[in-house]
């Protein structure tokens, strides 16, 4: 029983990371109908920046803030330079661009920081919170950070004029332009936000999965499974899916399939959802009139 609760709690901790990453995927998807396959490697690269800053004596939260800011700017720049030229290209061209981007970031990380596995600090050191036996301090902290990020993102989109403009630009770009929304910049901003929250996910995951250029591969897959499960066009669904996949992965890994093949759980979820209910649990079925 204690073991089960422990597995459940660990699942929630990584689930938070998946949820945040899934949200980043959904943000880009809603605006462009494309899945950013480079989301994981961008986050990994950001995490390396934080690691590098801390190696050079920066305090954790300083490095955290600088990394989030850097990632935001990086996301905007990537949208402007790399993604924008393919705005009207066929879907496949954009997919290739994203895959290329992910290889580029993977190689850059290896080139700059080496391929050896590094440990990554956590700000939530020491004894477990509230004396609970099931979650390490970092796992508790990671869940809290994930929840804060999710709350901030939802508040931003729900309550600020800029968030409203970004939703409008994603939903009906032509109409958004007619009320004066700078749609192009909204997309760039979306990329910046997605990169920034991806960086946070990376920094929360790194103390658990350790830092190396391939650390986000599995996480992106789980996040994608979470997004598909919840419905890739529904941010709430993606968050729910992310947490669910985190817990499911941990429990199945511990009791059913074993740790070695638990990544296939993600693939099973993706294929299963696409077969049984392609729009996900909370996604909207797209019905086209012809």
């Amino acid at each position: 029983m204690v073991e089960l609760l422990h597995q459940l709690a660990s699942g929630l901790a990584l689930g938070g990371v998946y949820a945040v990453t899934a949200l980043a995927l959904v943000m880009i998807f809603q605006a462009t109908q494309l899945v950013n396959f480079a989301q994981g490697e961008m986050a990994m690269f950001s995490t390396y920046i934080a690691w590098y800053l801390m190696q050079n004596g920066w305090d954790y939260w300083q490095a955290f803030a600088a990394t989030v800011a850097f990632s935001f700017v990086g996301g905007v720049v990537i949208e402007r330079i790399v993604v924008r030229p393919f705005a009207h290209a066929p879907v496949l061209a954009s997919v290739i661009v994203f895959i290329g981007l992910s290889f580029i970031f993977n190689a850059l990380a290896g080139f700059f920081f080496g391929y050896s596995v590094q440990s990554f600090d956590t700000p939530f050191d020491g004894r477990p919170w509230f004396g609970n036996r099931f979650m390490s301090a970092h796992e508790s902290g990671s869940v809290v950070v994930s929840l804060i990020v999710l709350a901030l993102v939802f508040a931003f989109f729900r309550f600020t004029p800029l968030g409203l403009a970004m939703r409008a630009a994603a939903q009906n770009p032509a109409s958004a332009r007619l009320v004066g929304v700078r749609v192009g910049w909204m997309l760039a901003l979306g990329w910046g936000l997605a990169a920034a929250i991806g960086a946070i996910a990376g920094m929360m995951a790194a103390p658990i999965v350790y830092l190396d250029p391939n650390m986000m591969g599995g996480i992106l897959l789980y996040a994608f499974a979470g997004a598909v499960l919840g419905g890739i066009d529904n941010p709430w669904g993606a968050v729910f899916g992310g947490f669910t996949v985190g817990v499911a992965e941990n429990l199945l890994g511990a009791y059913v399939v074993g740790d070695e093949v638990k990544l296939s759980v993600a693939l099973v979820i993706i294929v299963g959802v696409l077969v049984v209910r392609p729009s996900g649990l909370f996604g909207r079925r797209i019905v086209a009139r012809v």
């Binding site: 939703r167 409008a168 939903q171 009906n172 109409s175 332009r177 007619l178 009320v179 929304v181 749609v183």
Partner: protein, 237 residues
């Protein structure tokens, strides 16, 4: 007549295809100008050309400023509000969010609040449905929402693309009655595109008749209406 918008040799393109072949027209300051014509004559295209939704060439002057080199969002920010065909509703957002988007570029948020109330005076039904998802509104209500959204920009020129489209005659009559009031009370000039020429000529002070991308006749609305040849050939009644 002083004009708020003047087009000279305005051409517009869909891809490589020229859809508007160099038209000249003026929109009367403070008045209602109607663009009439059959399906495919280029009425919607003309509005799209004004607000830069499609590629265009030629001269387009709005209150002394050239529009031809500007992006749609900049045309809007200069004070040209466009109610597009199909109404351009943000269907997943609430009525309130749709309206707030209308005022997105404005800095005078206090005045926006009173403008909300004024607009609810014209369209009380929107006030009742303020928290409803906009996609669930009826066609007439969505048209009212589109007009309100455009008005919240506080435009000096309002472009209306077939506000009567797909609506029941009673609803159309109501909307046109309100449009007249808006034109009189809000000091906004209107350029309206309509297939229903009768309706548009009732509202308009000036009118132009488009035929396959060319303006064939233009003048005071009363003259156009009185011209038997024009009426029979182009207006179909």
């Amino acid at each position: 007549m002083s004009s708020i918008l003047a087009a000279k040799g305005l051409k517009a393109f869909y891809g490589q295809i020229e859809a508007l072949h160099g038209v000249d027209f003026e929109v009367e300051e403070g008045g209602v100008t109607a663009l009439l014509g059959a399906n495919g004559a280029g009425k919607t295209t003309t509005l799209r050309a004004i607000s830069a939704m499609i590629r265009r060439e030629g001269e387009l002057e709005f209150r002394g400023r050239r529009l031809t080199a500007r992006a749609p969002e900049d045309v809007a920010r200069l004070g040209v509000a466009h109610v597009p065909d199909g109404r351009g509703t943000f269907t997943d957002l609430t009525v309130e969010e749709n309206l707030r988007l209308g005022a997105y570029v404005r800095r005078d948020q206090r005045a926006v609040k009173t403008d909300f109330q004024r607009i609810f005076g014209y369209f009380p039904r929107l006030a009742e449905r303020i928290h409803q998802q906009a996609g669930t509104l009826s066609g007439g209500e969505q048209q009212m929402l589109a007009i309100s959204r455009a008005l919240l920009l506080k435009p000096s020129l309002l472009l209306l693309d077939e506000p009567s489209f797909g609506l029941a005659p009673l609803v159309v009559a109501e909307i046109f009655r309100i449009l007249r009031a808006i034109n009189e009370n809000e000091g906004v000039s209107i350029l309206i595109v309509e297939q229903n020429a009768n309706l548009a000529l009732d509202l308009a002070t000036r009118a132009y008749l488009l035929e396959t991308g060319v303006i064939v006749v233009g003048g005071a609305a009363s003259e156009i209406r009185a011209d038997d040849a024009v009426r029979r050939a182009y207006l179909g009644y």
